[in-house]
């Protein structure tokens, strides 16, 4: 019943512009995979290609190993949840949900039963006879979800389903989506530009950039071990420092570059290449008094009080960065300081920036 999805060597063009470049993606049966990226990265194109509304110029789409590239969209048996809900405005909620069953020739009696059951599940039983126009945004999205789920599709596709909802509702709905997807054990692809949403909902996330998948991994791995500068930047490693190992002694490597100098314990950091880029989040740079042996020299400019800590804007040889400082010992704006690293909030990229 639950099916796996494989995209191999997919290329796609709009006119002469290539929007997908030799893209591969493997989704295991029952998995929920997010396609995450900025607008124009090709994530929606990939989704529409799977749905059958677009056609690839090269490559194939396979469901459980069966190539469906040339199957018409209405025969693909794929549930699709749209950003703008795409409810049929002239049909009641029940007719909307029952539409797919009707196309499958399900008898009216069974249809009513299944629609009723589905509407119960999404808490919309009392709205069955209303028209979509009479529903709120969240209700509309639940109808759309019910409509896609009731046909028990082999694959469920979400196209930024929550972007038209307010923040609170968004969090509730993504939990609901995740629960329904698990309960029905349906393989799902989820397109979004919201990193938090993608990480919270998915088994695995494919971060896309310029028509290619930059990295495809679990949210934890993406967050901690980005494979390249693009992904590192995407998951919040804002400061990048190009470093070179100048000497090693007793398991500690001395790395220098761009005016910075760090002693990195390879037991903590793992084996380091001779040249690499160090990425740091705001919490990965800690403000200490000036004059230490190593660190990144800085002049502090703006101080922001965050309750648990201070954030400082700091002018450094690598540019203006944000760093974290202790609440016990505030620095003044204009002070000279030294920025040291917090290993858990930093990453090592093998390439040099």
């Amino acid at each position: 019943m639950t099916k796996s999805l494989n995209l191999t060597g997919i290329s796609a063009h709009y006119g002469r512009t290539q929007v997908l470049k030799d893209l591969d993606l493997d989704v295991k049966a029952g998995e929920l995979v997010s396609l995450l990226g900025a607008s124009g990265c090709g994530k929606t194109t990939t989704l529409r290609l799977i749905a059958g509304f677009l056609h690839a110029t090269a490559g194939k789409v396979a469901l459980d190993g069966r190539d469906i590239s040339s199957v018409a969209a209405h025969r693909r048996d794929i549930g699709l949840v749209f950003q703008n809900y795409a409810l049929f405005p002239h049909m009641s909620v029940a007719d909307n949900v029952g539409f797919g069953l009707k196309q499958r020739g399900i008898a009216p009696q069974e249809r009513r039963a299944r629609v009723g059951e589905m509407l119960d599940k999404v808490d919309l039983a009392e709205f069955a006879d209303r028209l979509p126009a009479a529903l709120s945004g969240g209700q509309k999205q639940r109808v759309a979800l019910a409509r896609a789920l009731v046909i028990k599709p082999s694959l469920l596709l979400f196209d930024e389903p929550l972007s038209n909802l307010d923040a609170k509702l968004r969090v509730d709905m993504r939990v609901e989506i995740r629960e329904l997807q698990r309960a029905h054990n349906i393989t799902a692809i989820y397109v979004t530009h919201d990193q938090e949403e993608a990480f919270s909902i998915s088994d695995r996330v494919a971060i896309m950039d310029a028509g290619q998948i930059s990295q495809y991994d679990t949210p934890e791995m993406l967050y901690r071990k980005p494979a390249n500068a693009f992904v590192a930047n995407f998951v919040g490693f804002e400061t990048m420092i190009g470093l070179r190992v100048t000497g090693r002694s007793g398991g500690v490597a001395m790395a220098e570059g761009q005016g910075a100098r760090f002693a990195l314990d390879e037991a903590t950091w793992g084996p380091l290449p001779d040249a690499f880029t160090l990425g740091a989040r705001a919490d990965g740079l800690r403000v200490m008094a000036a004059g230490g042996d190593d660190g990144l020299p800085a002049t502090l400019s703006v101080r922001t009080y965050l309750g648990r800590s201070y954030h400082y804007r700091a002018e450094t040889p690598v540019g203006s960065v944000v760093a974290n400082g202790s609440i016990d010992r505030p620095f003044n704006e204009g002070d000279r300081a030294n920025l040291v690293l917090v290993p858990e909030q930093c990453c090592i990229l093998p390439e040099t920036a």
Partner: protein, 261 residues
């Protein structure tokens, strides 16, 4: 990348041939060097174009049509713009039926209106032909003035006008300096639509033309009923050229999107 149905495309192309083909045929027939209408044209000649200008009836009626269309359009805008302004600015204080009332001239069949004007005004009040024609044309283009200008006012933010007044600008001046410049496009569109409608009108003019005074479409109608030479084809080409010119003006000033509304 997206596939569209070839049947749909073929149907659409066939329809466009149906819509534009006859006009192309008329244009081709106009250059035929024959005494009768021929397609494909036999020989090549501009003599029928010359003939258009030599038939004095065409010249005279064209001038009358032009005067009626310009004057009628101007009058309709003169009473239409204030009405459109009042409807969008103070719509809530005016009865709702009013905007329906203003479409009456479109709702009533024009030929019926023309006949009524003839029997009620021309005959009962013994009004001369020209003013009666002018009245008829002003009334039938009035809804265009009100609605097209109204559509343009609907997108205007009246708080700008209030801002002008609060800055010390007298209300009438505020209308001229703030509102009017912003609905220029709408007024131009209304003008063009009304002008062309009036210039092409047959059913209202039909009953109102009298001895010595006729409009160009009526004159053409009479000519076509009696003669079969390509003069009217040549005249048609000239009128189509005028239409193209007008559309080009609209395109330049307002963009083609204007035609869809």
């Amino acid at each position: 990348m997206q596939r569209s149905s070839p049947i749909l495309a073929i149907t659409a192309i066939a329809v466009f041939i149906f819509l534009l083909g006859p006009l192309v045929i008329v244009a081709a027939a106009s250059i035929s060097n024959t005494e009768f209408l021929a397609f494909p044209p036999q020989g090549f000649s501009f003599r029928w174009f010359v003939n258009v200008f030599e038939v004095s009836a065409f010249r005279d009626t064209f001038l009358i049509s032009l005067q009626i269309a310009l004057l009628g359009t101007f009058l309709s805008l003169l009473i239409g713009i204030p009405a459109a302004y009042a409807l969008s600015r103070f719509g809530f204080t005016l009865p709702k039926v009013l905007s329906n009332f203003f479409v009456l001239p479109i709702l009533v069949p024009q030929i019926v209106f023309g006949f009524s004007l003839l029997s009620a005004i021309s005959v009962d009040f013994d009004l001369p032909v020209f003013p009666t024609l002018l009245i008829g044309h002003t009334i039938i283009v009035l809804p265009y003035s009100i609605r097209v200008v109204g559509a343009s006012l609907a997108t205007f933010d009246f708080s700008a006008e209030e801002a002008a007044i609060s800055l010390g600008c007298p209300p009438i001046k505020a209308f001229y300096t703030v509102v009017l410049p912003n609905i220029r496009g709408g007024i131009l569109a209304a003008f063009i639509l009304a002008f062309i409608t009036s210039l092409n009108n047959v059913p209202v003019s039909l009953f109102l033309t009298g001895p010595g005074i006729s409009t160009l479409p009526i004159q053409m109608l009479t000519y076509v009923e009696n003669f079969f030479d390509p003069t009217v084809a040549a005249l048609s080409v000239l009128l189509m050229a005028l239409t193209v010119l007008v559309m080009a003006v609209v395109e330049k000033t307002l963009g083609l999107g204007y035609f869809v509304r």
